[in-house]
Symmetry: C2
Subunit: 402 residues, 2 copies
């Protein structure tokens, strides 16, 4: 008799963003006249950069031509893209990453979610609380509900997870953090790399928001930390760095030197396992998305991507300063597109979500959706239009003035 993966029964019913969408839909239907100001989901709103658009039109024309048609590409991604990533995002910063250590995919959500496929089931997992729900939910799907060590991230520790007292096999780190906007310092990351080396752990480092880091002394890649090449995998995405949420393109770095116990005691390259997974269960990212991504590394592409990031950073700074001026405790928003705000006493996160929605049409993300330590907070996203952001902050400011 056919049976389902029983661990799906351990999942909470609704995915956070679906629930938000449903509440907003119900509210809009009941109040069609009220403008909805979306500062909730981390979706970009600026159109794609001209350099990217030009590359896309060219790439479409390739597919119209018998001579320049591209069918199946390499599952690992086209060398033309992997080369410019290695050069620009790593070697130019003095980080040793080669093109064949890069795997192009359709998204960091897929990669972080799928990575567990190549790992053993009976692992202990360290996950921050609050956390991007995908890490938690996919580990529940893999049957690890009772072997997760939650690392509280609160005002007390600057929203940065500390290494646990006990050994732990698999560690998820996200910096700049979703949802808190906190950025781990070089010293924080060194602690984690040292811990991973001492405990033979693997760090999955989600750097999807690295392009928002502007402080020169902050780390953009885990591979800037000595020893990380033996114990870490890095995930990056064009979704936020170049507005590709609708295009789908991301990449994952696995150093060829990284070894893992194959489950039978033999040490094997982690790179080989992921390559086997991807060649068997994935057929490469779209040629169009890969051509678009390569355009991000042209001189015009870089300039335009930077301008978009600056636009969102202006939003973030405005949200941060407005809330801060109102006396709310906030973190993030400086080297991150997210502002994590302590809500007034007497509200749960969902109640405050409803309060903002009903009174101002403002959509945020309730902190409790990211874990129990997120209760008492909401996440503001800076990915909206400046005008949306300005209106929302004006409404909140005005309500406090009265």
């Amino acid at each position: 008799m056919i049976k389902a993966n029983k661990y799906y029964g351990d999942l909470e019913k609704s995915y956070l963003f679906s629930e938000i969408a449903a509440r907003v839909r119900r509210h809009s239907e009941a109040n069609p006249e009220q403008e909805i100001l979306r500062l909730g989901i981390g979706d970009v709103t600026l159109p794609l950069a001209p350099a990217v658009i030009a590359a896309l039109h060219e790439a479409v024309d390739d597919l119209a031509s018998a001579e320049r048609f591209y069918g199946y590409g390499p599952e690992q991604g086209y060398p033309f893209l992997r080369e410019v990533i290695a050069e620009n995002d790593y070697r130019a910063r003095g980080i040793d990453v080669s093109a064949d250590e890069i795997f192009i995919s359709d998204g960091a959500k897929s990669d972080t979610g799928n990575f567990g496929d190549i790992l053993a089931g009976d692992l202990t997992v360290a996950i921050a609380d609050p956390v991007y729900p995908v890490y938690r939910d996919t580990n529940i799907m893999f049957g690890r509900k009772d072997s997760m060590i939650m690392l509280p991230c609160t005002a007390e520790n600057g929203y940065t997870p500390s290494v646990p007292d006990q050994p732990c096999d698999l560690i998820y780190l996200c910096s700049p953090n979703n949802p808190t906007g906190a950025v781990m310092s070089r010293a924080d990351l060194r602690d984690w790399v040292d811990y991973a080396l001492a405990n033979q752990s693997l760090i999955l480092f989600d750097a999807a928001y690295e392009s928002f880091i502007s402080d020169a002394d902050l780390v953009k890649s885990i591979f800037e930390i000595p020893g990380a090449e033996h114990c870490a995998v890095e995930f990056r995405s064009f979704s936020k760095s170049a507005g590709f949420t609708g295009l789908r393109c991301a990449y994952t770095i696995i150093k060829k030197i990284t070894l893992i116990n194959d489950g039978n005691g033999k040490m094997v390259p982690l790179h080989d396992l992921w390559l086997r997974r991807q060649t068997t269960r994935f057929n490469g990212a779209s040629y169009l998305s890969q051509r678009a991504a390569a355009a991000v590394y042209t001189p015009e592409g870089k300039k335009e991507a930077t301008a978009a990031i600056q636009y969102y950073k202006r939003n973030a700074e405005h949200i941060r300063s407005t809330l801060s001026n109102l006396g709310m405790a906030v973190t993030g928003g400086d080297n991150s597109p997210y502002v994590w705000a302590r809500i007034p006493e007497g509200y749960t996160s969902w109640e405050y979500f409803d309060y903002l929605l009903k009174n101002f049409g403002i959509v945020v993300t309730p902190g409790s959706g990211f874990g129990s330590c997120g209760e008492g907070y909401v996440r503001f996203s800076a990915f909206g239009a400046w005008e949306t952001c300005r209106k929302a902050m004006a409404l909140i400011s005005k309500s406090r003035d009265q």
Copy 2:
């Protein structure tokens, strides 16, 4: 200590098509003057249809516009695409499938490979031999190496798998078949559906090649068989029907009525589980690919897609008749893009692969790469250019004349 999924150690080292690519590369480097005639991998070669190209340019322009920008889409796919699929591929043929029973994805390889995520680990699995390697390899990855029932497909049974004597939980069927090109009859499929209903099995029906079916009495969808709505999932793809191998777009049908034991004895909708999987581990197919796919259903798109299929079918017919005239036993090639040919005595499939490559520069796929019953066969693909196909058949014919 971090450990890998130990079942990866049960996989054979090399993925079939990577090995072929490596042999061709070595041969080409040693014989740079010899033209390579590719009839191996099932990749399309015709450029995308004009209607699809026009839709892609339009969709690119959407992404260049602040007003028409699309970011994250619904994980299940855009309604504009799911609606036209339901209407054209199902309702127009009298098959009851609604838009919300359709899941858009980046490929049928991903979907058939990932489907095991929502199923229990300890299942018995029936898989044809020869078979598309993804079914076999992903089941090995899920730890089912020793619980696979291989169903021999040979000349004796018309290359069609027969229902086994014992109960079996999960069944992979592919029709038109990859690699044999055989198409299951309505009666064959009825046997399997009856078997699945009697044994509470689930059929994963891979219909990636359905657009090659021209005989009116053949079944295109498993849902044409009464009862299939309780025991089957169907996978389709734009890769072969519209040449999207480089674009990445496919879809999977899960009827809302299909129930599955949740692993704890409760019957739950299979649809809910896959929706949960996709919303958690996938972020939707590219907006561009979905717009392109929708264009396949316009009047021009349909006409152009049909013309491309006819082009490949002409290749298939030419391969089939040439080999047949040479006295080789062949199957497929009529309602399928693949011709499955019995090779001369004295060769293994890989030896015959090497023989065709070294003597004529012809690349085919060795049958043994698809399973032990594939030994003694090679697969010819009709997805090459007509000129390639014609040259290859002329070389083979000539060699036999001498």
